[in-house]
Symmetry: C2
Amino acid sequence: MLTQPSYRSLRNPTVAIVGATGAVGAELIRCLEERDFPAAGLRLLASARSAGRAMTFRGAPVEVQALGEDSFAGVDLALFAADADTARTYAPLARAAGAVVIDNSSAFRMDPDCPLVVPEVNLESLTWSRGVVANPNCTAIILCVAVAPLQRRFGLRRLQVATYQAASGAGAPAMQELLDSTRAFLDGRPFEPQVFRHPYAFNVFSHNDAVDPLTGYNGEESKVMAETRRILGAANLPVGVTCVRVPVLRAHALAVTAEFDAPVPPSAVRECLEEAAGVRVIDDREANHFPMPVEAQGQGDVLAGRIRRDLGDPSGRSVAMFLAGDQLLKGAALNAVQIAEQMLVA
Amino acid sequence: MLTQPSYRSLRNPTVAIVGATGAVGAELIRCLEERDFPAAGLRLLASARSAGRAMTFRGAPVEVQALGEDSFAGVDLALFAADADTARTYAPLARAAGAVVIDNSSAFRMDPDCPLVVPEVNLESLTWSRGVVANPNCTAIILCVAVAPLQRRFGLRRLQVATYQAASGAGAPAMQELLDSTRAFLDGRPFEPQVFRHPYAFNVFSHNDAVDPLTGYNGEESKVMAETRRILGAANLPVGVTCVRVPVLRAHALAVTAEFDAPVPPSAVRECLEEAAGVRVIDDREANHFPMPVEAQGQGDVLAGRIRRDLGDPSGRSVAMFLAGDQLLKGAALNAVQIAEQMLVA
């Protein structure tokens, strides 16, 4: 373990949360509380229409302020949980005010000046941070937490992924649309989708991000492929991904096939995952108990199971598995707070 | 096209449906009606507890009879929509009474004396039927309808599949459990699952079939792999499958990666699927409109889209796609009735 390297720059920081009223913002507040993050103070920032709203931090009310150019005076750590445009506009202002930025949007994820960090995987990349650290795509985080230890031990040649993604990735309004449209369906009432183009109740649809007209991959898939390569430090790793929304509230699941450098027995993969930080193996064949979104939600580990030889690869080099992780926690807020914790002066 | 080959054995048959009160049974009745199947009469058979119940065929009431040893006297065509044990017990009795049997269970699917038929794919196998024809697993049917024309044109090396399977595959009680558990969730009431071991409302779980303790594959996956090879006539085709239940009522979806003998442009795959019988291409990248269960349900085609190069295979030989098909129709009842239609004397 590294001890107090140069990136440990924060001491009892004053923390700002940008996008405090969103789904990830709410989880950031809860993570700071539950993990006893040594924040000297908390500033909650959001769009003007949320300004004045009272939220709670450690039992005390905190009034939400409208995000503006002067929002970051005195802030040491700015946690961004807003869209990429907001991050591109306000992260430089936060930096200029002296704050370290951890950004949950896609704005800086492929910026060579900004490390893209999953603490269990590539903590060392924090050492060269220039003050803006990117929090990866939720699906990429969940995938990398489980795949990185396997890559280190067995060498990775290829990844194939199909996702079962929750509503939360599209924010609190998407979660509400799932609930509302489902109730309407059960009551036999018509429902007009507002957040998504397609019916969500008892349906499955290709991820809502725009699709590249040439490649046919959607934005989410492109992010997962590019960010996974970057996090794993494997610029040429072939990764094929299909991203699909399923009617689940807040935990993603992934069917993964990993091809290693040589044949690997599934039992060795299982042992490796049982030792891996941030992973909990749930793989009870007799009880048919494997990772599920309802068990992944609300907790920080990536659940891994269904570890077996991939019979689609006759070489014996491929192992199949099924993962689940809370999109709002390890996929977003928790990972950001874990990064911040690594920056604290001990 | 073959004209009146030897397997055309049925002329205005008297039809029996075994398991008439189940989810597939109800769809069989509807398919016979909607397709104007020239049934001279219809006998509805089910377990003793459903006997006496009145169902409707072509506007007239038909009373359900208890399935018994003498149920098949005078029956020319017996459509079985029951479990494998029932099929193993009663199909020989139906044969002995002179009926042709089309069985929807897994009982005869790997029996070398029983053809396993998807009419669009391997109709020719009907010629050697000894009177019991097996209707394949629903997921295998949907997969093969789309993959077989590609196999014929491009040569198939390997298949990788992750499924998004509906409740209907586990029968009408499973569909009801999905509805009931979802309503309980929305109302904040506890719900004790009866059909499945795991919560179904807003959850995803590994397919409920028993898992082989040695291989880690569940029964559904084993069926899909073995039956796909048999239907495609490719005994050594490597097929890797992950079968997952999603909270959807009656249409399955599949994320598929197919590796061909040589690099194939996705546009050629799309053209091939546009010409394929039983397939409807839905692949609008601009509108983000691709196959969805809610659009697959209630109609007979397999929907295919998201046709693109699989970036997980650097050889360029692999193409990814997404399929959806009605589990109760093409995945079960419709395929069975289509087989029966091919047996009719013109």
